[in-house]
Symmetry: C2
Subunit: 140 residues, 2 copies
Amino acid sequence: MNTQHTSLTIGAVAKRVGVAIDTIRYYEREGLLPEPVRRASGYRSYGEGTIAQLRFIRRAKDLGFTLEEIRELLALSADRQRGVKAVKQRAQQRLAAIELRIAELQRVRDGLAQLVESCPGHGKPEECPILRALSDEAVS
Amino acid sequence: MNTQHTSLTIGAVAKRVGVAIDTIRYYEREGLLPEPVRRASGYRSYGEGTIAQLRFIRRAKDLGFTLEEIRELLALSADRQRGVKAVKQRAQQRLAAIELRIAELQRVRDGLAQLVESCPGHGKPEECPILRALSDEAVS
DNA sequence: CTAGACCCGTGATCCAGGTCTAGAGTCAAG
DNA sequence: CTTGACTCTAGACCTGGATCACGGGTCTAG
């Protein structure tokens, strides 16, 4: 086991993970990161585990989880048995939400694409299908 | 031409368009709606044109335009010649942005879907592919 | 020892797009 | 004339996810 107690400053952690110092302190306040050990001076002192946890947070964020959800994922991942099931559930919920969002955007895209296609790009405003669609009563 | 000077209160407009009174005043402050005529009492007095313009705004918002962009669209739609060309351009830009966003979300969805599939939903946290993916180095 | 880089906590600020509050005036029905 | 619904303004507040500012303490290379 590799339990060297590397003692990193907040700045070093920030640099290694590619995140701002303020963000780390913010995550700590928000309960996404545990309160770290302090040096005599009051400086936060981090180990490698924090790096991993920060990366976890960043990746989950990239997957569209909110910080609230990530806080929950972190709690679940610590639960040795029931955690996995709940984690999978959350991931499935997230997946469903993303698919819903994609479908919405596709509808919007289709509508907009049709308008763009049908607009000649010149002429009077009253004849522009885009402006007409935005102004007229009859829209979906 | 149908130029009855229907005089609507802000509340009536809000109800007909399905938007909050505060939102109308907010749009006015933000320059999306012109300053309306006032009654002697100071009450705002709107005509049918405002209804149309508010619907324009709402639809454009549904298409993902920001208020800033909508302000521009409104200005362009008033420009009798060059407006149409510019409007089409903006719509194309919006379309491209939406397509980009869809592609991003699809990447995220695919990644997440794969993780969900590969997770049995039970067992130790260390063996959960979802948690592993979030924690491990090798991602993306 | 000192300069410069780093860190501390607390609280303010930012973004968009509204939403809400307070206190006062106005309108329409009964 | 009263009551209750409506409107007025100015400004504060909200969400999420940070980011910045302030005034001060600490660490390290030279």
